[in-house]
């Protein structure tokens, strides 16, 4: 099993859900495919989708909703 860190492409504010009432994009234990949207990063008044580069099982989510993130920061860990 290979562990992949999914990195934020942008600095900004990370959101785990598409809107405050909606369920999170992904949860621990969930199987995702490459291209699955795992969260949003808000910067310069735009919300940018973060997509998984590789598929697998989400084993850990490293940031909380509305955390400040940097470009290149690990957001979650996927096992494939």
């Amino acid at each position: 099993m290979a562990r992949h860190e999914l990195l934020s492409p942008l600095p900004g504010t990370f959101y785990r859900r598409p809107s405050p009432e909606a369920p999170p994009f992904v949860a621990v234990g969930q199987t995702i495919a490459a291209g699955t949207v795992v969260g949003l990063v808000e910067v310069m008044k735009t919300f940018n989708e973060v997509q998984a580069e590789t598929g697998g099982t989400v084993v850990e989510i490293l940031v909380e909703n509305e955390d400040a993130v940097e470009a290149g920061q690990a957001l979650l860990i996927v096992e494939a």
Binding site: P9, L10, P11, G12, E42, M44, A68, E70, A71
Partner: protein
């Protein structure tokens, strides 16, 4: 046809030295937010220092070159890659027709400048090739780049690749900066204790910060001096009778979150301004990412002019070091 946009990046736009002389008509200067790094990029590839470049914001584009070119990337640390192979920042690089230029994650600063020998040859509008997004003119079709756009490159004098920017002349990119401010013209609207708090507090760049204005949060709200609402001013204590907004002026709507106006600003309105960030520090604002920290530090006009002279001297050293 010279460069084709495969992926546009977050907010990639054509910018140059700016559009001077129309701010009184509501048309802001626009142009590269970090003018120093922008000029360095041009000088590295043998361009006139005011030639049009691409300003890359926090997430770089993916570009296919349709002809041989010499390029340089300065400013924010976003490692350029040619066909996936990492290249040096602050260096003139040779690109072959057919190669794809992409960028690694942002590792410092916020805006990188991509100069191409010959310059980005979009039409000149009111004396500048800079994009003014709010006005939807200048640059490439008045907007940031989109996938499928094709950018023409001007005829340049051939330059050799390989020249690098002296590390001593590279911009200093920090996560916490001090921004020098000349107070006024409306800080009399705020209590003295509250202005002292404003200058004592550390402010974080808000994710909304952009080319129009840099919004900060995290410091204490302003306390206003009581007044009778003047004829023509809005009812909020931060409102004034409409006035001109200098580039660099700090407005604080409702006394809550300071906004430093930058090169795409609107030219006037009804918010009081507590001070103006000096021109020598505007480049550093353009290199601030969300959540970077700033403190506002009071200086007098003599210190602001000295800082401007120092900045001009540094630009002269840059020009001398990269003279062909």
């Amino acid at each position: 046809m010279a460069i084709e946009v495969i992926k546009p990046g977050l907010a990639t736009s054509v910018q140059d030295a700016g559009r001077s002389g129309y701010y009184h008509l509501g048309i802001p200067p626009s142009g590269a937010l970090d003018q120093y790094s922008f000029r360095a990029a041009n000088l590295l590839v043998g361009n006139d220092e005011g030639a049009a470049v691409l300003e890359l914001t926090m997430l770089g584009p993916e570009l296919a070159f349709r002809r041989d070119a010499v390029i340089a990337v300065t400013g924010a640390v976003m490692t350029p890659k040619l066909d996936g192979v990492a290249q040096a920042c602050n260096t003139a690089l040779a690109v072959k027709a057919g190669q794809v230029l992409s960028f690694d994650f942002l590792k410092g600063g916020a805006r990188a400048y991509l100069a191409v020998a010959g310059g980005i040859d979009v039409p000149v509008v009111l004396g500048s090739r800079s994009t003014y997004g709010l006005g939807a003119f200048g640059g490439h079709q008045g907007r940031k780049l989109a996938a499928g756009d094709v950018l023409p490159i001007g005829a340049g004098t051939p330059v050799r690749a390989g020249r690098s920017l002296d590390p001593a002349l590279q911009p200093v990119l920090e996560k916490a900066v001090e921004l020098r401010v000349v107070p006024g013209l409306y800080d009399h609207r705020v209590t003295r204790a509250s202005m002292e708090a404003f200058y004592a507090d550390t402010w974080s760049v808000a994710p909304e910060a952009d080319r129009i204005g840099y919004r900060y949060r995290g410091g204490r709200p302003l306390e206003f001096v009581a007044r009778t609402q003047p004829f023509g001013a809005g009812s909020d204590p931060s409102n004034i009778v409409d006035a001109c907004y200098p580039i660099g002026s700090i407005q604080v709507p409702a006394g809550l979150e300071p906004i430093v106006l930058h090169r795409d600003a609107v030219s006037g309105g009804g918010y009081m301004m507590v001070g103006t960030v000096i021109s020598a520090d505007l480049d550093r604002i353009g290199q601030m990412q969300p959540n970077h920290k700033a403190r506002f530090v009071v200086v007098d006009l003599a210190a602001a002019l000295a800082a401007r002279a120092e900045r001009r001297a540094r630009l002269d050293r840059l020009r001398a070091s990269l003279a062909l």
